[in-house]
Symmetry: C2
């Protein structure tokens, strides 16, 4: 971890004066950034001390250890968080805000509490869709607001992918798809793990991904088409190195096929993803007849936190993000 910038240094410009600490604390990862007044990321730390690995009374110790230099150098700096840290099994349970929800309602429902050393911690609430189609999110609401869009379908791939509809700047509703988790279960826990080998070659992977995409809309459905990652390998019709990409195409194709049918056709699709995941979703959405605009996941998270905190009057920031 690099030392953070020191805002008491006479040569520091306003641009690198720290305004807040932004923490993305999910089930499996802890990520924090020191954010400047202009919104720039001045420093960052990360670890695998996700909510799932922290005891109920252990959150404060992880935070103060991970961010010690920042908290020491900038006494009283606001610490802003979103993610599963605000869930029932997290640090503090922050009640869900019901959809439709805009930035004002979300900002008003932030939970604040003080920890040792006079630091105030603020956790963004998750969102809920109530009714027969009940659904929940924690963390993605921050990324969605960070996109700063008035009207869009926002797609957030992940362990539990979200497809959210934003209208007039408010998150109207959303759906969760267990795509990332089922991929992990298939490749690590199921019978399909037995014949797979790690992917090696990009062109081969791309072809296998496309084969999976096509399988997602073929007859038989997911429960049948997933088994092809075993039977086709047994019969020499799929290489062991193609299994992961085929399953990725099959699962992303199933998600996109179902989600795209539900999404309002009049809204642009914004994809909050990077790297291979961004390319795979872009291709799957294109195959379903859609174009996407890409947004960086980390940037949208920090921008969302800043936006919510500004509305709550918690931080002073120059940029209208």
């Amino acid at each position: 971890m690099a030392d953070s910038m020191n805002d008491t240094c006479p040569s520091s410009s306003r641009a690198d004066r720290p305004a807040c600490v932004a923490v993305d604390w999910g089930t499996s990862r802890f990520r924090a950034h020191l954010v400047g007044e202009d919104g720039r990321l001045l420093d960052g730390v990360a670890s695998d001390e996700g909510m799932g690995r922290v005891a109920p009374d252990g959150f404060e110790a992880v935070l103060t250890r991970m961010c010690a230099p920042w908290l020491a150098a900038h006494p009283g700096i606001p610490v802003l968080m979103a993610g599963m840290v605000g869930s029932r099994n997290g640090w503090r349970e922050v009640p869900y805000v019901p959809c439709p929800a805009g930035p004002d309602e979300i900002a008003a429902a932030m939970m604040s509490f003080e920890i040792a050393g006079g630091t105030t911690v603020r956790i963004v609430p998750g969102l809920v869709v109530d009714g027969p189609e009940a659904d929940v999110m924690r963390g993605e609401e921050t990324q969605i607001l960070g996109c700063g869009l008035d009207d869009a379908v926002v797609v957030l791939p992940g362990t539990h992918s979200k497809w959210a509809t934003v209208r007039d700047g408010r998150i109207e509703s959303f759906r969760t798809f267990m795509t990332g988790e089922v991929f992990a279960l298939f490749t690590r826990q199921s019978v399909l793990r037995l014949l797979r080998e790690p992917p090696v070659d990009t062109p081969v992977e791309r072809a296998a991904f496309r084969r999976g995409l096509a399988a997602a809309s073929a007859d038989g459905g997911l429960l049948n088409r997933a088994f092809h990652a075993r039977s086709a390998v047994l019969r020499g019709r799929m290489a062991p190195q193609e299994v992961d990409s085929y399953l990725s195409g099959l699962l992303i194709g199933a998600e996109v096929g179902a989600a795209k049918r539900l999404a309002p056709a009049d809204l642009p699709i914004v994809l909050v993803a990077d790297g291979v995941v961004a390319e795979e979703y872009r291709e799957a959405i294109a195959a379903a007849g859609g174009d996407v605009t890409l947004v960086d996941p980390q940037r949208s998270f920090v921008d969302g936190l800043i936006r919510i905190a500004r509305l709550a009057g918690e931080v002073s920031l120059d940029r209208a993000r």
Copy 2:
């Protein structure tokens, strides 16, 4: 284990003279029966020493220990097997027979070998569908032949459910669905395990099962509808005790929906299942517009082994099963 009947006893009738030992040796279970000349099950043993838990050189020891009294009392009795015991990681790899395949081809492809004590072991081959829809089975071919049907769709629920089309007494083709395995993954390994509790009350379970069945044909698809077993519990719209039944309905509904669309509409549906599984599949198939005839899984397995062995001239049995 009960002692087996002794065919040297002067009072024994032909009906209880043992004709063979029938072994169903799958991935997770070993089950053996001593079968009389009239096809009756004279004795039975079972253990969890499935293929997956037996070392490559350990199969003979498991068999001779489990069936020791029968082998000692009836020297030279044929031992007939089917299931994953004939797979690459089983005792001996018996090459797959390609579909369409009838009883004659399957009987001709049995693998025989002798073990210590002069016992001959015979393993039934699995079946394969080749081509782009490659699929494999081991064990179910024996149950299908045991149904003794000329024309039917035979449904075999399980870890990897099979839907097979039988025409003119031959197994024309089949499809595998990972229904049972995905249910186990969801309820034991996934995030959905966190909010579930063991089912307690039959009427509640039945209602939750039906809710899952309905969800299988609703929008959103499997990856979305499975997550309801978390979000609906979080929002008080599903009891923790309903999670298993809901997921069972969702997965069986997804299997039946896809499989029924593929199955020839002119053939009767035969369901090889018992207990709760039989009731659940019967209901799911009825919801998809089909009637079923039930066949007992254990009986069909033994009948299938006897039928195959008789065609191969391996056992003398009176009943034309």
